[in-house]
């Protein structure tokens, strides 16, 4: 079975859109890692770079949308080709959001470097970021390979990220209760870890798009959810 279209420019259109997604993915991956490094090494300059680089990610998303609109209008893709266009549009949206969260992390780094560090926090956040970046890398590999199995694996790894977030959430609560002077830093750190947890959700959504693209059906079983902090209660008594 030959996979090429009879009209070869159709293949070139689809390939060029997918190349944009891969380029976006690469930029987002380094944004996540660099933002986490900037926090850990208290590197304001690196944080500033991450913030500036976000514009390139946004511009790529816009390009993907324009190219997709043009392809829909001119080629009326169906079946697998339609799924490719639909998933490309969703994935670029997910990547753009992840990029935003990385930028937000970098912004908070700019504030946190001027405060007393919270013991162990930056290291834990870095580990969480590395996990999410690894999931993102695999979900994009799964996309290129149309590998539903690898995508399914990514989907399940999101549980780890949720658990890391839960652990950090409790730790920050403890620090804040111990000494109110920690509150400002811990609030920023909490937002950061929540944002990384959200990155994990977007990466999971990318993995789900890969499953839809390669099988034609969205996975519909409930994914294990690990974020239970909305049900946690803080007991403060005197």
């Amino acid at each position: 079975m030959n996979d090429a279209h009879i009209v070869s420019s159709y293949d070139r259109d689809l390939e060029s859109i997918q190349a944009l997604i891969m380029k976006m993915g690469g930029l987002v991956e380094s944004a996540i890692l660099d933002a986490a490094t900037s926090l850990e090494t208290r590197d304001e300059e690196l944080a500033e770079q991450v913030r500036k680089r976000d514009a390139a990610i946004d511009a790529l998303e816009e390009q993907v949308n324009e190219r997709c609109a043009l392809l829909l209008a001119t080629r009326q893709p169906i079946a697998r080709d339609l799924r490719t266009v639909l998933t490309v549009m969703k994935i670029s949206g997910n990547l753009e959001r992840v990029g935003d969260y990385a930028k937000n992390l970098a912004k908070r780094t700019g504030v946190l470097v001027h405060m007393t560090p919270i013991e162990g926090a930056a290291g834990a956040i870095r580990r969480m970021s590395v996990t999410v970046e690894g999931m993102l890398k695999d979900s994009l590999d799964a996309y290129i390979q149309r590998d539903a199995e690898l995508a399914e694996d990514v989907r399940h790894r999101d549980l780890e990220v949720d658990q890391m977030y839960n652990a950090l959430f409790r730790e920050f609560l403890t620090f804040m209760m111990e000494d109110p002077r920690n509150i400002t830093a811990c609030m920023h750190l909490h937002f950061i870890s929540k944002n990384i947890e959200r990155m994990g959700d977007h990466v999971t959504s990318i993995a789900e798009q890969v499953i839809y693209l390669s099988t034609g059906v969205m996975p519909d079983d409930m994914r294990p959810k690990g974020d239970r902090t909305s049900m946690d209660n803080v007991e403060i008594d005197g």
């Binding site: 079975m1 090429a4 279209h5 009879i6 169906i78 799924r83």
Partner: protein, 265 residues
């Protein structure tokens, strides 16, 4: 969201109008239709798609015994209309073709007036007792064919003087005039411009209220737009038959996908 099917399009509850089983067609030694089984539903538009020469027209012609008119053609198997075997010796093919009407690729109005084009069938089938009844059938058919307003002031003008799109709607109106239950259309829009095509497609969608419509088309977009069920033929086989939404978003057979997405396959 589990799939892309649009719920209003679900026609699986509709009655089965035509049931074909183990259908084979031979032209001399050429085996043109191979063991086709299909259920065609009432009040549904069913599209037949597939590459040229795969047997779409041949199979369509089995459904009203048009193949009887081709000497070298031999049809085997079981084809039932409302449970009645249409190849049974006591079935009159002319009566059958009034029940299962046909519209062709090239509009072929008779070289007669617009009025007589429509009145011809009802006359030979004795559907009108007098002129007033015939007038009524002609008007009703032209209205159902969505062409009444364009021709009501010139019913005596020759049908051949109409535009291509009007001629095709006239032919559809002519097929409707004998009160058929099934309408077979073999590439009815391939000679029409986009506006005339849209008018015929709109008409097909309206006809679905009352008839079972089977349309052969080379336009994937047309099949996707007008039909609720799609059958993909390849080398005389019925490869895949399913809901149009499923066929065009997630075809199960590699050959279907290669064909509809324009791949070499």
């Amino acid at each position: 969201m589990n799939d892309m099917r649009i719920t209003e399009r679900n026609v699986d509850a509709n009655a089965i109008k035509i049931a074909a089983r183990n259908c084979q067609v031979y032209y001399g030694d050429t085996h043109a239709i191979k063991d086709v089984d299909v259920d065609i539903r009432d009040k549904t538009v069913t599209a037949f798609i597939g590459p040229s020469g795969c047997g779409k027209s041949t199979f369509l012609r089995c459904l009203n015994r048009m193949n009887d008119t081709i000497d070298v053609c031999r049809v085997e198997g079981d084809i039932r209309l409302d449970g009645e075997d249409i190849y049974d010796a006591k079935v009159d093919p002319v009566q059958l073709r009034a029940k299962v009407g046909m519209v062709f690729q090239k509009p072929n109005p008779f070289p007669k007036s617009i009025y007589d084009n429509i009145a011809y069938g009802p006359r030979i089938h004795g559907l009108a007792r007098n002129k007033a009844e015939l007038d009524e059938i002609v008007e009703k058919s032209l209205r159902r064919g969505a062409i009444w307003d364009e021709v009501k002031d010139r019913l005596d003008a020759p049908g051949t003087g109409l535009s291509g799109g009007q001629q095709q709607r006239l032919c559809i109106a002519r097929a409707i005039a004998t009160e058929p239950e099934v309408l077979l259309m073999d590439e009815p829009c391939s000679a029409l411009d986009p506006i005339a095509t849209a008018q015929v497609e709109e008409l097909i969608d309206e006809l679905r209220q009352d008839y079972s419509v089977v349309i052969v088309t080379h336009s994937m977009q047309q099949a996707a737009r007008v039909s609720q069920k799609t059958a993909f033929f390849h080398l005389g086989n019925l490869v895949e038959y399913g809901d149009t939404g499923q066929i065009f978003t997630n075809p199960h057979d590699k050959r279907t996908e290669a064909y509809i997405t324009g791949r070499i396959g």
